[in-house]
């Protein structure tokens, strides 16, 4: 018989060179590239980031420049998004405000997500008293009404944008923790986690390498969803005098300003509203794309 038996020592040198493993990043990009909508959203996000960086340069007017001769004007060629009660150019304010809003929205949710994810993983994975402890802490955080928490945090740390970010992060920690915990609970029972445990994996590795990726898609979805929420929360904090100080053009604060002019000069609220909407939309679309690209089972 002329057949070749497959043995463990079969030409190790020859085959070793043949292994070609693409980096996960490459795979990810290859898949992400296929998601047209997410790509467009990604371009928008980059655009937003550019606007955030170069906002003050590209804005046609100074965002704080008052002009009492043109107060509460509707959109026109001169003022694309009209003017507010002080005659400030709303379009310029939105452009310049991108930085603050994006920063607050993104960073605060990021911190909240990071904290919440760690807590949720630990809680779901270890169970028992650690789970109870963490979940009870979350309960307490949940039970603290937002404003009280914010006032408290700012009272302890002092006012300022940085502390607003902390306050908003603290808001989102328990939500993330609970979401991550619940997915952890179901991923934990899978056979592949048991298989990895049987190899002698440390808990830390089990959590990060095997359970965490399983929770990632719900994290991403919630993350992108929270960004809009965070911008609005930060706005209400500025409104309490706890955040970005006037006249800095923070979107949420602009939106709240517009509340008084909703029927007389709707542009004051509508345009910042649209800015928030677009931001939330593109982050959501991007999140969906990321999620799909991270999911090995989807092939399209």
């Amino acid at each position: 018989m002329s057949q070749i038996e497959i043995t463990p020592q079969a030409n190790p040198n020859k085959t070793a060179a043949k292994v070609k493993v693409h980096s996960p990043l490459y795979d990810f990009w290859r898949k992400f590239r296929k998601q047209k909508l997410a790509l467009v959203a990604g371009v928008f996000v980059i655009l937003l980031i550019l606007v955030a960086i170069f906002g003050p340069i590209i804005a046609p007017y100074k965002p704080t420049a008052f002009d009492y001769s043109s107060v509460l004007e509707g959109p026109s060629a001169k003022h694309w998004a009209g003017t507010d009660a002080y005659g400030r150019d709303i379009f310029s304010r939105i452009i310049v405000g991108t930085r603050i809003s994006l920063f607050v929205g993104f960073i605060s949710v990021f911190i909240g997500a990071a904290g919440g994810t760690i807590l949720g993983l630990i809680s779901g994975f270890y169970g028992k008293w650690i789970d109870s402890l963490i979940m009870r802490i979350c309960d307490i955080l949940f039970a603290f009404p937002g404003i009280i928490l914010a006032i408290g945090i700012i009272a302890i740390l002092g006012p300022g944008l940085g502390n607003v970010i902390i306050a908003v992060s603290v808001f989102s920690i328990p939500s993330f923790a609970r979401i991550v915990r619940s997915t952890t609970l179901s991923v934990k029972t899978t056979l592949y986690v048991e298989a990895t445990r049987s190899m002698g994996a440390k808990s830390r590795r089990l959590i990060w390498k095997h359970i965490f990726p399983g929770t990632l898609s719900s994290i991403i979805v919630y993350f992108t969803m929270r960004i809009g929420n965070a911008i609005l929360t930060a706005a209400s904090l500025s409104f309490l005098g706890l955040g970005a100080q006037p006249p800095s053009p923070e979107w949420g604060a602009m939106l709240s300003d517009g509340r008084d002019y909703l029927s007389t000069a709707p542009q004051v609220a509508i345009f910042p509203g649209i800015a928030i909407f677009i931001t939330v939309l593109v982050f959501n679309l991007l999140g969906d794309g990321l999620r799909d690209a991270l999911d090995p089972k989807i092939k399209e």
């Binding site: 109870s132 979940m135 009870r136 309960d139 307490i140 949940f142 039970a143 603290f144 009404p145 404003i147 009280i148 006032i151 408290g152 009272a155 302890i156 939500s175 609970r178 979401i179 619940s182 997915t183 609970l185 179901s186 029972t189 898609s217 719900s218 979805v221 919630y222 969803m225 809009g228 929420n229 609005l232 939106l255 509340r259 909703l262 029927s263 609220a269 509203g273 928030i276 909407f277 931001t279 939330v280 939309l281 959501n284 969906d288 999620r291 999911d295 089972k297 989807i298």
Partner: protein, 306 residues
């Protein structure tokens, strides 16, 4: 299961105790002098002094805490510094409107959210998906005051069908609950979609199809229950927040609920009311979380509580 339930209920007692201490300290740490705020804008120092005595705020903090706790243990939540009403009566008055509003909002949100989520997940990347998700993103990013005022414009001012606010009849619930529900529906829709999309790839969904079941039945009966765990978590949270009362919606719709009471109490540093409300919120979250955990157990039989 039952003993688990009882255990959790008993477990709440020490938690509530700890929470009450945290709440007390936290509330007293917030800057602001209730005596001055309660006494009013043109009060004199003498007025303020009187108010402070009247409210017992002149005593040292530990003494105040002890009397707060003894009252609490006797089931006495104290009286409002501002209105001098018993706090329990105030909360009772405000709780039911908030509760029913929350329930209605949640119902709307579940109906719309699940519907949109399921349709989007099953019609992935078709126009139904895109419009569903567009609606959901709108729900997330639309400030509720805006939505509320728009609804009033349309349904009250233009069409004259529904009242602009207040709580007079069942009609009063419609607009505020829709406003509140929109954001939650959006969240539920997003979660349902993403979670359901995962589940639809599972083998047992294929088994359902192989049985010849209608796609609708496969999705709603077989896939959805599996997909509900993250959705239930979210919904529980949202219900909790709802029960706290939404300041914005209560303001827009002149709703006699807990949210406005809290804001008023905070701006007047009405300690007994703030403390009682926060204690109520804690209890409410504990109960909701317990409920959510029990629902987990129902949804995923493999998660067992012993």
């Amino acid at each position: 299961m039952f003993s688990y339930f009882i255990k959790r209920l008993i477990g709440m007692i020490p938690i509530l105790f700890v929470i009450s201490i945290i709440i007390f300290l936290f509330v007293h740490l917030i800057p602001g002098d209730p005596a001055r705020l309660v006494a009013g804008k043109d009060a004199t120092m003498a007025d303020i002094k009187l108010v402070r005595q009247e409210l017992g705020l002149d005593k040292p903090l530990p003494e105040q805490y002890i009397s707060y706790m003894t009252n609490l243990l006797h089931g006495n939540l104290g009286t409002s510094l501002r209105t001098k009403d018993p706090v329990s009566v105030m909360l009772a008055q405000r709780f039911m409107p908030t509760f029913w509003l929350s329930v209605w909002s949640l119902l709307w949100a579940l109906v719309f959210g699940l519907l949109i989520g399921v349709i989007s997940a099953t019609k992935r990347n078709k126009w139904q998906d895109y419009s569903g998700m567009f609606a959901a993103v709108s729900g997330i990013s639309l400030p509720s005051f805006w939505l509320g005022l728009m609804l009033i414009q349309i349904f009250s001012v233009q069409l004259g069908w529904l009242p602009t606010g207040g709580l007079d009849s069942w009609k009063s619930y419609i607009l505020p609950s829709l406003t509140l529900g929109a954001g939650i529906a959006a969240v539920i829709a997003r979660f349902t979609r993403s979670s359901l999309m995962d589940i639809l790839k599972e083998d047992y969904v294929r088994t359902g199809r192989a049985k010849g079941l209608k796609e609708r039945r496969v999705v709603w009966n077989h896939a959805l229950k599996n997909a509900m765990i993250p959705v239930v978590t979210m919904t529980g949270l949202q219900f909790g927040f709802l029960l706290g009362g939404s300041v914005v919606v209560e303001t827009v719709f002149s709703w006699p609920g807990l949210g406005r009471l809290l804001v008023d109490s905070v701006s007047y540093r009405d300690y007994p009311v703030i403390q009682a409300e926060m204690l109520l919120f804690s209890l409410k979250f504990l109960i909701i979380n317990l409920g959510v955990d029990l629902i987990y157990g129902y949804l995923n039989p493999q998660i067992r509580y012993e």
